[in-house]
Amino acid sequence: MGAYVIRRLAYGVGVIVGVLFLLFLLFFTVTQPDDIARRALGEKVSVEVIEQWKVNHGYDRPLWPWQDWDDNLLFEHYRRMLTFDFGVSDADDSPIIDRIRAGVGPSLSLTVPLLVLGILGGIPLSLLVAFFRETYIDRTGVFLCVLAMSVSIILYIVGAQYLIGKVLRWYPISGFDADLLMLPRFLALPIIVGLLSGIGGDVRFYRTVFLEESTRDFIRTARAKGASEPRIMTHHVLRNALIPILTRVVLAIPFLFTGALLLEAFFGIPGLGSMTFDAIQANDFSTLRTMVFIGSLAFVLGQIATDLSYGLVDPRVRFE
């Protein structure tokens, strides 16, 4: 177990090093510091202004270690990212770390309820559909899932803002208030949209997993010894399907982050997603690469946590 954990962690570190290298390729070699400066300052600025801007933002050094071993952008990029010293935004010179600190709370207040409600809604629904397999309930359920998956999330956002926010006036169209009494009112609409856009894929996936489990030998044994069908679904199928479900949930964490990008940006929630959205609009490369790094870091850590938790969920798994 100990050796496995160390190996797994080492691989995670390797992946992070790889991610940082890809980011360096994208944001320093494909887009050179000169391009970044020009996009931040506009086309018609003098060379001196660009040079000064590069000095201010720490871009005034050669790219590669073989050009200057002690002072180059590649090592500097690794040093800054790995020590969480993200520097200032390329667009408005504000410290990135402060904005991340301010954005984490609003982001989590949206994504955590979204993830929890998605699981609580998706699993019972798909158990129900799988319970009625090969009947018209199952077929209708699958058809509704495909229907829900075929609608672009942007249509859900526009539709919900118009129908629920404007015509029915149940909830505010967009905005945010950290006050605990007001918060649910502002989060209701984005959470409804997030659930709608995710539920189709979720239910279909869980259904496939449950159907796969329900053809196993131990299910037949359980049925033979007289266990009732609902009990088989909840005790035998669900518990054995936990591994793929767990994998799916962890894989959904960074996807929640991406879904939150749209939801936050268009429902006016001042989280990390809106921050990324603003960075796209403002050609703010330093914020953008920081967000990609943080997203990847979260994903890698989540993956390691899943791999290790397999042993807790499923006693059949042994770490070699």
């Binding site: 790889g18 991610v19 075929s150 672009s152 249509l155 526009v158 991406t258």
Partner: protein
């Protein structure tokens, strides 16, 4: 060097696509297994296949362009611009501004239209026919799905089959590359790539290709690992068949069903991703995503403009639904057992 005009390039590609389609149809009809699969598919999803075919026909009609033949009194186009069949069908239908479906007067102000009652989906703020714009979107959507798949699938095959078949160092490298790319959240990597390469159709397609090949690569690698151990591959190797020929004759044909399934299932995801990108302001010109983005504010006008959103949203939804329906059926027909949900 002589500059080839884009419209000639587009015509050549269209011709190649038609020839390629005919070739695939011929190959399918010659192999019994594939022919039976195609017949089953047709009987199961007749309607969805017809819908997809309709979109493809519109897309092809919008890809064949030529110059000249423009009437003297056409005002909205340059006299020397290459126009497609779809452009020509809607030549001169432009109005001054908004008009609702089948209206005979303008939406605001109520002055008379040039072509009363001839715009089934109304016109947009610049007076362009919305039906025309929606039809133009078909080509963009198919281009995004098709071009990206042409980038992603070969990439995944080269790396996946190579890693699975040859193993060793190359396998380690590919596996590391896959895990690295897979750890970067999809949409953020997509945005980063487009921002770094600059905006435009090609860079959007490359970015979508880079982010979408990983899943399929993992699948082909795992499948190749299984195929490599089969008896006939050992037999071929014992007979002295070159490795490259084994891959070509014994591995790749056994991956063909996976390629078809992935292509169809990937397609809808790609078109939906482009819609999201369009909403973030980094999409492809003329796509439905961009139309929806433009129509967003029109809902808050009073009285509201709804036909733009409805037309573009419905065009997108129907295509995705039809492709998803066909994709599901293809998966059931070609691979009833082994394939899991692509993530």
């Amino acid at each position: 060097m002589m500059q080839i005009e884009p419209y000639i390039f587009s015509n050549v590609v269209t011709l190649l696509l038609i020839l390629g389609g005919a070739f695939v149809a011929r190959s399918v009809s010659r192999e019994r297994l594939w022919r039976e699969a195609a017949v089953t598919l047709w009987t199961r999803r007749r309607f969805a296949i017809v819908v997809v075919g309709l979109y493809m026909t519109i897309g092809l009609f919008d890809s064949v362009a030529w110059k000249g033949g423009i009437p003297e009194d056409a005002i909205d186009v340059l006299p020397n611009a290459p126009l497609t069949l779809v452009d020509r069908a809607f030549l001169g239908t432009k109005e001054a501004s908004y008009s609702s479906p089948f209206a005979s007067v303008e939406f605001y102000g109520g002055s008379a239209l040039k072509h009363p009652g001839s715009h089934p989906f109304g016109t947009d703020i610049l007076g362009r026919d919305v039906l025309y714009l929606s039809l133009k979107g078909a080509r963009v959507a198919l281009l995004i799905g098709g071009l990206t798949s042409l980038i992603a699938i070969p990439l995944a095959l080269i790396f996946g089959v190579g890693a699975g078949y040859f193993g060793g160092r190359f396998d380690d490298f590919v596996f590391f590359l896959i895990s690295t790319l897979a750890s970067m959240p999809g949409i953020l990597l997509l945005i980063a790539l487009i921002m770094a390469m600059g905006r435009g159709t090609l860079s959007v397609c490359i970015a979508l290709g880079v982010t979408s090949w990983v899943g399929f690569c993992r699948l082909t690698r795992a499948e190749t690992l299984k195929l490599r151990e089969l008896d006939y591959v050992y037999a071929a190797r014992a007979l002295g068949v070159p490795e490259f020929r084994i891959v070509l004759r014994h591995i790749l044909p056994n991956l063909a069903h996976l390629i078809v399934i992935t292509f169809v299932l990937m397609f809808s995801g790609l078109v939906l991703s482009e819609a999201v990108l369009a909403w973030l302001g980094i999409g492809v010109d003329g796509s439905w995503g961009q139309m929806i983005d433009g129509a967003r504010d029109e809902l808050s006008r009073d009285p509201i403009i709804w036909w733009n959103l409805l037309a573009s949203g419905a065009s997108l939804f129907v295509l995705i639904l039809a492709v998803n329906a066909v994709g599901d059926a293809i998966r059931d027909v070609l691979d009833p057992r082994t394939l899991k949900e692509p993530s």
